[in-house]
């Protein structure tokens, strides 16, 4: 990150124009403390990401959505480091939708793929450094001294020979008259004071006192509240609507059919819900009326009998399987999963003839803005989208078809008033956009020493990417990258290898679910390698280790986790230990889980040791909390999570039948971070993939029962233990 980097002056001017041109007016200030604060008149805004006021206020404009992963802290820290300010004084503001705020690689404003720190580091560091150089030059100009005699420190510029000081606020006006530097010098790792420190999250106070504004908390004058009667089966269409009873419900204002179903617009949410209950709709249920999970599994099994599109291949896997000393076959199945963020989906839209305002917790601002422009017929610049805090995202708020924004815009347009659309929890659990279910057929051949000669993995899974704007880059030769990631690129050294793929029929809406394809491929790969180790009579940690000679970072975290967990040391009676390692989103994570199981077959996870190699990192405390979070999220799926279908209908509806783990189920999570100078990796998602296999492998170590289907329900555990 150190060294000089040329900065395009045009880029500066362009972003400056964005700020000056009024697009930023009315941008919501998401942190409670900053609510209602207007930028002071004299403001130094050297680029799109930073504003320094004559009142010494320092505002960092963040182009990523804060959904718990810590971007409103980690990204300002990068600016603070180069700007020479205490990160605690920074105010954070959500970026408006503008090209300056596009994802550095993806050409649109989006938060996802655990990319925020990785892709923003360079330009935010430059933004901070350029501002520091300009402030220093402004001070030198004021004092009529050489800039080299001045140093920026803690929000001030100091003239070293005389000890004179000027605050950034005092310098803001003078600095704003200077040209941005042609190149900036970034700090080297040894000069860094903020990066690498466990700085407290900037959004904590507002989230503790209840003032942090989320999408659902937005209220604008004249706003009505709506729910949508959504189809009972995916793809169903309302054939006949009887609205008279619903219209009679006190507080109900309008019944309005839209793309998503039938909108019930009312004065309050309770009235809207009563209105929806009173609505009678006859549905044309469409082709998925008979959808059934057991039958889908049979279909997938049938598809898996034939070769699929080859995602990766080396050697001759079929021949090697035939001549192997020992052959092992297994089928792994994983269900659909709902994201179930704690804040149900919602969106406020206010469509007027001359413009449209949207307040929403979204991960995909540009697409949502464009969708609103299309519905309203307004030019894009007349759509103002304010990103609110997201009460959890996990991918659910990154929807390429913008459905939860479109329905609010359609209803507001239809009724001519601001409308807030609220999803109930049942709407959320029934509502689709799940992690796809998958059917995985594995085979391995071992040599006489028990080491793998051949490994084949056939995946049957719906495609997430098909039909999205990402199709061009991520769908090749009939293979959806997100369906085979983590499987086709397994690090284990096996001379004969093949991973192939069948795209399962579309229908159920599917989406990226925190860690995407890795959420299932890690379970399959890390369970199956464990099976091979046990079949060969080897220690599962050392067996993996022997196959990772060419992957030192994978091996490194495996060693670190094993060492910190006390691998091989005796455990208390009734406890088992399992290990798993997986690379995803540019980071390497190994986890060792300690589990016990009771007479009912309920698994209890006591302790999880995480070893993380995410290269150079910004905030170790955020890494630790994201590991805790990844473990919790992955454990909910491993132990409880499944969306299933019967008669075309989702069989789960709320947290009683789609449980997520509770406090008493939360293990102790210990995080150990490898320190190196490698390229930064992601941290929001990579903690999820290893936990399910680590737990399943621990269960095997403890009981001899190998579970190849998630979730690891007590019924399945009892059955497997009875057999095993």
């Amino acid at each position: 990150m150190s060294g000089s980097t040329a900065i395009s002056r045009r880029a500066f001017l362009k972003t400056g124009a964005v700020l000056g041109g009024g697009l930023i007016i009315g941008v919501h200030l998401p942190l409670g403390a900053a609510l209602g604060v207007q930028p002071p008149e004299e403001t130094f805004a050297p680029n799109a990401f930073l504003r320094i006021g004559s009142d010494n206020s320092i505002t960092v404009i963040v182009n990523k959505s804060e959904m718990g992963q810590g971007v409103y802290t980690a990204l300002p820290m990068i600016v603070a480091e180069e700007l020479e300010v205490d990160p605690a004084v920074i105010r954070v503001e959500a970026a408006p939708v503008a090209p300056a705020y596009n994802h550095a690689l993806w050409g649109m404003q989006v938060t996802g793929g655990s990319t925020s720190v990785r892709t923003e580091w360079e330009r935010l560091a430059q933004a901070g450094a350029a501002a520091r150089q300009m402030l220093t030059a402004a001070a030198a100009g004021t004092w009529q001294v050489k800039p080299a005699e001045c140093r920026a420190e803690n929000g001030q510029v100091i003239h070293l020979p005389t000890g004179r000081r000027l605050s950034y606020g005092r310098l803001a006006d003078a600095a704003s008259r200077l040209q941005p530097p042609k190149s900036v010098t970034l700090k080297g790792p040894k000069e860094q004071k903020v990066i690498g420190r466990g700085v407290k999250r900037l959004d904590t106070p507002a989230k503790v006192n209840g003032t942090a504004p989320f999408g659902l908390d937005v209220a604008v004058p004249g706003m009505l509240t709506a729910v949508v009667a959504r189809p009972p089966v995916f793809g169903a269409r309302a054939k006949r609507i009887r609205e008279d009873l619903a219209e009679k419900v006190p507080g109900v204002k309008r019944i309005l059919p839209i793309d998503a179903g039938v909108g019930v617009v009312a004065e309050s949410l309770p009235a809207a819900l009563k209105g929806r209950e009173a609505l009678e709709i006859e549905w044309d249920e469409g082709p998925l009326a008979g959808l059934d999970s057991a039958r889908q599994r049979e279909t997938y099994a049938e598809m898996a009998k034939k070769p699929g599109a080859v995602a990766a291949s080396r050697g001759n896997a079929d021949a090697a399987l035939e001549k192997a000393a020992k052959r092992i076959d297994a089928v792994y199945t994983l269900p659909y999963l709902a994201h179930a963020p704690m804040e149900p989906l919602n969106c406020v839209a206010s469509v007027r003839p001359d413009g449209c305002d949207i307040w929403v917790g979204t991960q995909m601002q540009t697409g949502d803005r464009d969708a609103a422009a299309k519905i309203t017929g307004l030019p894009k610049e007349k759509i103002s989208l304010r990103t609110m805090f997201l009460g959890g995202g996990f991918g659910r708020r990154a929807v390429p078809d913008s459905h939860f924004v479109r329905e609010a815009v359609q209803l507001s347009k239809g009724i001519g008033k601001p409308v807030k659309v609220v999803w109930t929890r049942e709407d959320d659990i029934h509502g689709g956009w799940y992690r796809p279910s998958s059917y995985n057929v594995l085979a391995a051949g071992l040599d006489r020493a028990g080491m793998p000669l051949a490994w084949t993995h056939r995946i049957v899974c719906q495609s997430i990417i098909t039909g999205t704007p990402f199709e061009g880059g991520m769908l090749k030769n009939g293979i959806d990258e997100t369906s085979v990631e983590g499987a086709a690129d397994s690090p284990y050294e096996v001379p004969n290898f093949r991973c192939d793929y069948h795209m399962a029929p579309a229908g159920v809406p599917v989406l990226w679910w925190r860690s995407v394809g890795h959420s299932f491929t890690a379970f399959v790969k890390e369970s199956f390698i464990d099976e091979l180790a046990h079949a060969a009579g080897h220690d599962p940690y050392r067996y993996r280790r022997a196959l990772l000679a060419k992957h030192p970072r994978v091996a490194g975290v495996l060693d670190l986790a094993a060492e910190k967990a006390g691998w091989g040391k005796p455990l208390p009676a009734g406890r088992g230990r399992g290990i798993a390692v997986h690379e995803s989103f540019g980071s390497f994570i190994a986890q060792v889980a300690e589990v016990s199981v009771n007479g009912e077959g309920e698994i209890r996870v006591h302790r999880v040791v995480c070893a993380v190699d995410c290269g150079r990192f910004v905030n170790p405390e955020i890494i630790a909390s994201q590991m805790e979070s990844g473990v919790a999220f992955g454990l909910s799926a491993a132990l409880h999570g499944a969306i299933t279908f019967a008669n075309g209908r989702v069989q789960q509806s709320n947290f009683y039948d789609y449980p997520i783990i509770r406090m008493r189920e939360m293990p102790e999570v210990e995080t150990h971070i490898a320190r190196n100078g490698e390229k930064p990796g992601g941290i929001g998602e990579p903690g999820v993939p290893p936990i399910a296999p680590a737990v399943a492998n621990a269960l095997f170590a403890l009981t001899g029962a190998r579970l190849r289907t998630l979730p690891l329900t007590p019924e399945r555990v009892r059955e497997a233990m009875g057999k095993g």
Partner: protein, 154 residues
């Protein structure tokens, strides 16, 4: 008209008596710190105090609180040991469930000033957190319990 107090302030609302207290607090009174998560008393995001006791406002009809006293997250003083401990442990991630967690924790500590892990798990396992902040919550409750002993105001 149904009247009750919220955070010490008298409120009168004109809504159907079966309206859930949660939506009266959020939509009529305009206090949005109390959150909606499930609507069925399954997640605890809507937890408030009714005469000092933790209740789920999403399933409490407003008629049931007539003449009574409600406290929401906005009514817990900023210097309350629980809020201070939450900040010290940097508990929140997405933050949506945290008001409910804090309301459950303040009610727990009012009843049991020195809860052990098991007592904390019992009192808090009704409040879901999708981000997995549970262990930090537990630490924060222990910290707040310690602070109270040193002159904090519960």
């Amino acid at each position: 008209m149904i009247s009750f107090t919220v955070n010490g302030k008298r409120q009168q609302v004109n809504v159907p008596p079966d309206t859930p207290l949660l939506w009266v607090i959020r939509e009529q009174i305009g206090l949005t710190g109390t959150k909606f998560g499930c609507g069925k008393s399954l997640c605890g995001a809507c937890t408030v105090h009714l005469d000092g006791r933790a209740i789920r406002s999403c399933v409490t009809p407003v008629s049931a609180v007539a003449g009574k006293s409600i406290t929401t997250i906005e009514g817990i003083p900023e210097d309350h040991p629980v809020k201070q401990a939450w900040i010290a442990e940097d508990v929140p991630q997405c933050g949506w469930c945290q008001p409910g967690q804090i309301m459950a924790a303040t009610a727990l500590l009012a009843e049991n000033p020195k809860p052990d892990d098991a007592a904390i798990d019992d009192a808090m396992s009704g409040i879901l957190c999708r981000c997995g902040t549970y262990r930090r919550i537990r630490k924060a409750i222990h910290r707040a319990a310690g602070m109270k002993g040193k002159g904090g105001t519960p």
